[in-house]
Structures are given as C-alpha cells and as structure tokens.
C-alpha cells in the first residue's frame, strides 16, 4: 500500500503536502492536484488542506538546506503544464534535503534530470513567447495579447513586458490556464477569468497590422524558401496567435 497526496492545485497547497510528507514520514508515491487526479490501484489518497504558514516553513527549509537557486527552480518548475510535475518537484525536494548543495552538481541524478526537463521547457516556452506575443490596440487605449501555452508562463512574462512597456497599459491573456496578466502603468497582477469582454479595436490597429504583414512577406528571400527551417524555429502551435501566420495556421 502506498500514499497519494491530493492538494488543491495551488503552490501553497503543494508545499503543505510536502510538509505533511516530512512530518508524518508517510513518503507518498505521488503528489497530485485533486482535479483530474488518477490514482494507482494500491494507492490510498489523502486530501491535503492548504495552510500557508506550513508552506512558508517548507520554502524557508528549502532555502536554508539546499539554497535559493533550488527554491527558484522548484517555483519555476511548478509553472509547468506537465501532469507529473508535483511528484517530480516533491522528489527533487526530498533528494535535495538529503544531499544539500551537492545536488547542484549532480546533473546525472534522475530526480535532478526530471526537474531540469520541466525547468528548461518552461523557460524555453517563455523565451519564445517573449517574441511571439502580438498585442492589438483596443479602442480604450489598452493593448491586448493572447497566448495558448503548454505551461503557465505568465508569471515569467509579466515582469518582462511590464518593464518593456512600462508606459503602456496592457492585458495578456493565457487561454490555456484562463489567467489574465494586467499591467496598468503602476504594476502588474494576475486575474483568474474564463471570459474576457473585449472592446472593439482602435482605428489605427488595422493599418498597423497590414503594414506588419506586408513587412513580414517582403523581408523573406524568395529564392531561399525553407518552411521546414521556419517550423523548427517557430512551431505551428504558436501560429494561431500570431497575426502574420494565422492565415496559415
């Protein structure tokens, strides 16, 4: 018989589950968000009640015993869209607390490899989206952009875009996670919402789009067309939100 911990899907909920694992020494085989959780036949599930105070204790413990780089790594990996992510991060914390800082150099350890895969994937997606997001100017002066990522990169994208467009109110909507990032010149915050009520486009929006599409098509060297190379750098799944590509998506 083995344990599976179910938490509410939040960061604090996950850390509370980690706390319980260490305090009860039950060492669960899986840590899962309760929504859509699939258990193995022999697993006994325990529902974890989120307690922010315990979550902070786990965070402090990770920073003290492994280091702040590990804390940043697990925080980032938690943004992953991988269904196994919580179990992978939990294992990394267990190994990390056992081995301490030496976990940073043990790159071939299975638990480290697993979390590095998540970490690299989320950073790669965020990096690509920094370029691929397209904003449209709305009538009310707000710029609106939409992404459909595999992970949940908004917490990585918002600081970047709010530094870049500090004088420009904008809204970046993550349709996968129903999450909206709002920047209002003073700062940014996230809002959970399944539905957006968008005002009509500003008058100058369509001419700008036309100019961009024109530029996009002019800048390619016709003698060197290479769709495979383009797809490699800019995978198809991003095309639906890129206005120069969505006629091809």
């Amino acid at each position: 018989m083995s344990w599976a911990y179910l938490y509410d899907g939040s960061w604090d909920g996950f850390l509370t589950a980690v706390f319980r694992a260490f305090s009860t020494k039950e060492w669960p085989q899986a840590v899962l968000p309760e929504e859509n959780a699939q258990l193995a036949l022999d697993q006994v599930s325990v529902r974890i009640i989120t307690e922010p105070a315990l979550a902070r204790r786990v965070e402090r413990g990770v920073i003290r015993h492994i280091g702040s780089a590990a804390h940043l790594k697990i925080w980032t990996a938690f943004l992953s869209g991988d269904p196994e992510k919580s179990t992978i991060i939990y294992r990394y914390i267990c190994t990390g607390l056992q081995k301490g800082r030496s976990i940073y150099v043990n790159l071939a350890h299975d638990d480290v490899l697993a979390i590095d895969r998540l970490y690299t994937h989320i950073h790669r997606e965020a990096h690509l989206l920094r370029g691929f997001v397209r904003f449209s100017l709305m009538e009310n002066g707000v710029y609106y952009g939409r992404i459909s990522p595999k992970n949940s990169p908004l917490p990585l994208l918002m600081p970047f875009f709010s530094d870049r467009y500090s004088d420009q109110p904008f809204l970046l909507y993550d349709s996968t996670n129903c999450l909206a990032g709002v920047h209002d010149r003073k700062g940014w915050y996230l809002v959970e919402t399944g539905h957006l009520n968008l005002p009509p486009l500003a008058e100058e929006e369509l001419p700008s789009r036309a100019l961009w599409k024109l530029f996009y098509h002019t800048i390619a060297i016709a003698q060197r067309e290479n769709p495979k190379c383009r797809r490699g750098h800019m995978p198809n799944r991003y095309w639906e939100n890129m206005l120069e590509m969505n006629s091809l998506a």
């Binding site: 043990n106 500090s166 996009y216 800048i219 003698q223 060197r224 067309e225 495979k228 890129m242």
Partner: protein
C-alpha cells in the same frame, strides 16, 4: 509626390532584406520607466518563409543612391522606383511595431542620398527622434555610410546600440572591381574609430556611471561570399583579424544571390547556402571555441569541407590530440571535441564534481554523442563499438546524414567487409577535404 507609407515600406524593406543583423548582443538594459528595453540573449519575434529570424524592423532610409556598386540592386544605373522615408514617418512606424511586440527595435541602413554626410545626418535625425522624443530604449542597429565624416559616425554611435560598417567583399581587389566608390580606407577608418570610441567609452563609464554610452552592443560587419574568387581560408583569416584588431562582436557572411545583373559577377546559380553555413560554423570556432584560422584551414587546403563540419575536419587531421578523457580534461580541451559545445562542456565540468561520468550519464545529461563518441573516453574506456582509427571515424561521420544540412547529397560510401586485409585506406590527404573533391 509623397507615396503612402505602405509602398515605401515595401520598397525599402525589400532592399534591406539581404542585410544581416542579430539582436543577441549581450546587452541587457532595463526600461527605467521609458519605452523599451534590451535583452542580452536577443529575441526573435518571427521567422520569415526562408527560415531567417525577424527581430528588427529592417529598412533603408532611402534607396536612392549616388554610387554604382555592381552587386547592389540600388546602384545608380539600375532602373527602379526611388523612395525615401521622412524621419517622422519611420520613427512612428517603428514605435507602432514596437508597442505591438512585432519587433525588438530598428535596423537602419540607407542608400547614399546626395552625399554620405547628408545621408548620415538624416539617419541620425531618425535615431534622435526615437531616442529623445519617443523616449525609446529598445535596440537600434545602424549602418554607417562609407565616406561619411568621423564626427557623424561618432554621433550615430552615441544614438545606436550597435553600429556596423559593411566590408562588402573579403579582399581589396574584389572591392575595387565591384564597388569602385568605396575604397578600403573608407571602410577601415570608421571601423578603427568606432573601436577606439567604444574602448574610450568603457574607461569613461568606469569613472562616471552616467557617461553617455557609445554603441554598447559593439560593432559588426558583413561581407558577401561567393561573388568573388576569395577562398574560405582568406575569409577566415580576415574575420580573425577583424575580431582581434577591431574587436568586432560579429562578422556576418551572406551567400551571394545574383540580383545585380552585372557582367563582372557570376550569373545564374546562387552560391550554395552550405558554404555560408560552414563559414558560420568556422566563425563560431573562432569566437567561442578558442580556435585560430590557421588551425581550421591552411594555404594547402583553403576551403571548408562540405561533408564535414570544420571541427570534425580539424579533429580528424589532429587525431594525436585525441581521445580526450571526459573526467579529466579542462574546459578548453573539452571544447575541442566535435559535437560538444560550450553548454555541454560546462555541464560536464560541473557534473563530474559529483563523481566520475559514464557514457550513460552523458547521454542522460543530453550531451549529444553522435560525433563526440569517436573522440572521447570515459574513465579510460572507449564507447563500445568504437574503433579509434582515422578511416573508421571518417566514414562513420560522413555517412551520418541525419544532421547534414539540407541540399547536400552525395553517394553513400560503399563498405567492403574483409576478414584479413585492412579496410580500404583513406589517402593521407583525405578525400573530400577540399571542395573540388566533391
């Protein structure tokens, strides 16, 4: 007779499409409450149908030109419509694109309007408008105009992040033949000036934190490959001296595409992209791997091998430096292994602190062994199935077509299995080690 912006953009971006620029400049600059920032790694905003990244709004200020360079489609004697952006028009277009996250900044070049100084003044006008009126802190790459006064070059450098002077051709003879209005001196003098300004600026910044910056992303240059008979060895030696003497950040190579229609140029077939690709590979060996041009090529074998990348080629000619022991070699030595780059080498150096690495560990760490396997040992052992012999390695590397760039085809090497006689020996001057052998 002002044409709508649309038509101007079409003509002026079409003329700029052969220019190469990249925003991975190592320059990180925050927004500080203004519009725009820059990122050290650079950001690609889109990819064109030819697979090249689009990161900057790449345009000419004007395609009118008083020069008559044979390779250029904007040369005076070519009959094409001529247009010029007004500074305001171009600045507004840049800002409109930037605010929508279409671009990372502006790449500005120009044909020569009236005279070089006048053109440079116009270009500075655009940049000044962007930086001062629109408070734009994004990336700007500007081309200097050959023959412009040094004061104007200095002014351009204080407004742009990167400036470049185009070398156009790899040798002076080619330059004289094809671009008679651009003497070599008019190209190298501003290059030297820019280098001195950048260095001087570094000292100023060390003393006064708020000293105005000069071209913080450095300078680059570009040359056309294959329109002239210059060899790869000449090109690599030139690039090496540019990196050393002029501390350039990048040298860009562009394979020649016939657009000029001049008798002096090879007509018909464009230069194979593969040659450009190999030159870039060799260029990276110079910049990131501690190689020198003399190691990669020589007078005797002056062209890069189309079948093998330059590092494999070097390794095969220098088998006495191999095999390299993964668990002991230092970083510089690891960088010499074909198939292992800076990321992989650093991973190895870090990971082996926790214990000796096996082939299995390397594979788990996603270090690609396809090429490296022939040249390394882990704790003194070769990877199973590897024979450390020149012809064995050569045939296996060439036969591995999975990573060969497209457009390259060659007959597979027939392999005769024999029990007693040694495999068909590879001649001392390995075949395929010169371009003409293919």
């Amino acid at each position: 007779m002002s044409l709508p912006t649309q038509e101007k953009l079409q003509i002026l971006s079409d003329s700029a499409k052969y220019d190469v620029a990249c925003t991975s400049s190592g320059l990180d600059r925050g927004g500080e409450g203004k519009l725009g920032n820059t990122v050290a790694s650079g950001i690609c905003h889109s990819f064109a149908a030819d697979g090249r990244c689009i990161s900057l709004l790449k345009v000419l200020l004007s395609n009118s030109c008083v020069y008559d360079c044979k390779y250029c489609m904007n040369r005076r004697s070519n009959d094409v419509p001529r247009v010029t952006f007004t500074p305001r028009e171009l600045a507004e277009l840049t800002i409109a694109f930037y605010r929508r996250n279409y671009i990372e900044g502006l790449f500005l070049s120009s044909g020569v309007l009236r005279n070089p100084d006048y053109t440079m003044e116009q270009m500075c006008g655009v940049l000044q408008l962007l930086r001062e009126e629109y408070r734009f802190r994004g990336y700007i790459h500007a081309k200097t105009i050959p023959g412009a006064s040094l004061e104007l070059v200095t002014r351009l450098g204080s407004l742009a992040d990167r400036i470049s002077v185009n070398l156009e051709f790899p040798s002076e003879a080619s330059l004289q033949l094809l671009a008679p209005d651009k003497p070599k001196r008019s190209i190298l003098r501003p290059m030297g000036l820019i280098r001195d300004q950048i260095e001087g600026n570094r000292t100023d910044l060390a003393v006064y934190r708020h000293a105005p910056q000069f071209a913080p992303a450095g300078q680059s240059t570009q040359m056309i490959i294959g329109a002239t008979p210059d060899s790869d060895f000449q090109i690599m030696r030139l690039a090496e001296s540019l990196y050393k003497k002029y501390t350039l950040k990048r040298v860009f190579y562009s394979a020649y595409i016939p657009v000029g229609g001049s008798d002096l140029l090879p007509a018909g077939q464009p230069v194979p992209l593969l040659r450009e690709h190999r030159l870039y590979q060799a260029d990276f060996l110079l910049r990131y791997y501690g190689f020198s041009a003399g190691e990669i090529l020589s007078e005797q074998s002056p062209s890069l091998d189309p079948l093998l990348d330059p590092k494999c080629h070097w390794a095969l000619r220098n088998l006495h430096c191999f095999p390299i022991e993964i668990n002991r070699a230092d970083l510089e030595t690891l960088l010499r292994i074909p198939g292992i780059g800076p990321t992989g080498a650093r991973k190895i150096v870090t990971a082996r602190k926790s214990g000796a690495l096996r082939f299995e560990d390397l594979r788990k760490m996603r270090i690609v062994l396809r090429r490296a396997a022939y040249f390394i040992t882990c704790s003194g052992k070769y990877m199973p199935g590897i024979r450390f012999e020149q012809d064995f390695i050569y045939h296996n590397l060439v036969a591995d077509t999975s990573r060969q760039p497209s457009g390259l085809s060659f007959a597979p090497i027939p392999e005769q299995l024999t029990l007693f006689s040694p495999a068909a020996p590879v001649p001392a001057a390995l075949p395929g080690f010169g371009r003409e052998a293919v």
